[in-house]
Symmetry: C2
Subunit: 283 residues, 2 copies
C-alpha cells in the first residue's frame, strides 16, 4: 500500500512529488511522462518566480530534468475512478487497481464541461480512457471527441483497433490523416443511447456509433471521485488542501482560480505537507 | 495613491510583485533590496519546482535578475505600522506615510516571540526601526537585540550615532568589532522602563540604557497592523488570502506553515489576483 497516490503531472503534481520524495515517502505518481500538454503549449510565462520569461516547452524540460535528477518515476495512465474504501483508498488506472492511505488530486481543471448524457452513460458506451476500453471496440465503429492535440496518439491507437473512427477535435491543426478516420467539425451537444447504439448530436447532424470516447485533460472531479464535494466544477478544499473525504487532498487548477503555475506549485507543496501530517496522525 | 503596497521581499512578495507588474498595476514594494536574509542563508533547496538543487544565494540572484529584468523597484525600508483609514490604507515606513487602496502583507514570520514589555513599550523606548528612530539616541547609550547577521549594518549605523551600544546577537558568527560596542551573551527575558531608563533583564544580569532596538526579520503582525486577526502568531486568511480587514491581504510564512518557498510563491500569486479582483469591484 502506498503512502499516497498523486494524480496529475502538471505543476501541482510536480510540486507535491518533489516534496514527498524529499520527505522519503512511498508514493505512486500517475499522469503523463510528457507532464502536461497545457504547460507544453504555453507561449511565454513571465510571472513564475525563478524562471524568467520562459516558454512552456522550456519549462516542461526543466521540470522533467528535475524529476529525473531526483529519481522520481511517472506511471503513464488515465485514472478512471477513485474510491473511498473507508480504511484506505483505491485508484483505478489502466484497468489496474492501486491502493493508498492518502490521495492528492492534481488533475487540473476540465476545459470543457460535460455534455448532456456524458456522465450518465459513462461505462455504458461512453469512455474516458482509450487504453482501458479500446479493446472493447475491435472492428466496431467509434466516435472520439478530443479536447487537445495531445490525445491524437490515443485516437490513433483507437483507429488501429476500430473499423471506423469519427473524430471530433476541439482544437486547431488537427492531424489525423488515416484511412478509417472521418474528421467531423462542430461542437457536440448531447449523447443518447438507443438500441445499443450511441448517438452524438450536433447542431446540424447526428453521428451514430458503437462507442464514444471523450478524451480530455481532466475529468470532472465529482465524476472521478464519487462523493467528493465540488462547487462550479472545482474541488472544495480548506487552507490545508483537505477535501471532504478523509485522506483525499487536492491541489492546483482543480481547486479553482487563478489558474496559475505559482498557485498550483504552492498548493501541491501544501498538500504534500498535509499528507505527511495525516500519515503521522495515523500512527 | 497606490493600487497596492506589498510589504516584504521574500518569495511571497516576489511572486505578488511579478504578477502585479504583469497585470500593469501601480504598486509600491517595501522590503530589502537584498530581498531576504533568510533566502540568502538557505543551504540547499531541492523541492522548488524549476530550480533544481540550488543554494539560497543562487536563488536570490535569480530572483533579483528577474525583478530587474521586469523593471520592478524595491523601496528599502522597515514598515512600522499599517493603518486602516476606512476609505483606504496607510503604511508608515522610514518615517514617511504611503497610501494605498490595498495592502499585501508578506513580511514573513517572526522567528522569536516578543518578550515581556516589548510590545507594550513600543514607541516609548523600544523601537523596531534603526533608520526611523536612530537619530533620537545621538550620543546616548542604547541596547540592540538582533535576530540575524543581516542586521549588523543597521547596528553599525546605530553605533555611529550612539555613545555606547550593548549588542545582543541571537545568531552565530557575530561580527561587531567596534570600540563603542559591547557584545552581551544570553537570551533577553523582559523589558521594563524606570525613570526614563530602559532595563533589559537576562537570567543573570540587567542591562540599562536609554533605548532598546529590537531588530528582526518580521514584526508580529498584530503589532504591525492594529485590529488584524491572528492565531498563534500567524495571520488568519481565507483561500483568497483575505484577512479580516477590508483591502488587506496576506501571503507566505506570515499566514502559517509549511514555511516553504513553493507555498509562499503560490500565496503571493493568489493574493495579487485577489487584489486585482478587489480593485475591479471598487470601480
Amino acid at each position: 500500500m502506498f503512502d499516497t497516490i498523486i494524480i496529475g503531472t502538471g505543476p501541482a503534481g510536480i510540486s507535491a512529488a518533489l516534496t514527498l520524495k524529499q520527505l522519503n515517502k512511498n508514493f505512486l505518481w500517475i499522469g503523463s511522462k510528457n507532464l502536461s500538454y497545457k504547460i507544453n503549449s504555453a507561449e511565454k510565462i513571465r510571472n513564475y518566480p525563478g524562471l524568467s520569461n520562459i516558454s512552456g516547452n522550456e519549462m516542461k524540460n526543466i521540470f522533467l530534468k528535475q524529476i529525473n535528477d531526483m529519481g522520481i518515476e511517472i506511471l503513464d495512465g488515465q485514472v478512471t475512478g477513485v474510491y473511498d474504501l473507508s480504511t484506505h483508498l483505491a485508484v483505478l488506472c489502466n484497468n489496474e487497481q492501486y491502493e493508498a492511505k492518502t490521495i492528492i488530486l492534481a488533475m487540473g481543471v476540465e476545459a470543457i464541461k460535460p455534455i448532456s448524457g456524458e456522465v450518465e452513460l459513462l461505462g455504458q458506451g461512453v469512455s474516458y480512457c482509450a487504453t482501458c476500453d479500446g479493446f472493447l471496440y475491435k472492428n466496431k465503429d467509434i466516435t472520439v471527441v478530443s479536447s487537445s492535440k495531445g490525445f491524437e496518439h490515443e485516437a490513433k491507437y483507437l483507429a488501429s483497433l476500430a473499423n471506423k473512427v469519427n473524430y471530433i477535435g476541439l482544437y486547431k491543426d488537427i492531424n489525423m490523416d488515416l484511412d478509417n478516420v472521418n474528421i467531423i467539425k462542430g461542437m457536440p451537444q448531447k449523447i443518447e443511447k438507443e438500441d445499443k447504439k450511441m448517438k452524438l448530436t450536433f447542431k446540424d447532424q447526428v453521428i451514430e456509433s458503437d462507442g464514444i470516447f471523450m478524451l480530455k485533460e481532466a475529468i470532472s472531479p465529482s465524476v472521478l471521485v464519487p462523493g467528493l464535494e465540488t462547487k462550479d466544477g472545482h474541488i472544495l478544499v480548506d487552507r490545508e488542501m483537505k477535501t471532504n473525504i478523509n485522506g483525499v487532498f487536492a491541489a492546483g487548477d482543480s481547486t479553482g482560480r487563478p489558474y496559475q503555475y505559482a498557485k498550483a506549485v504552492g498548493e501541491g507543496n501544501v498538500a504534500a505537507h498535509s499528507v505527511v501530517n495525516y500519515l503521522n496522525n495515523l500512527k
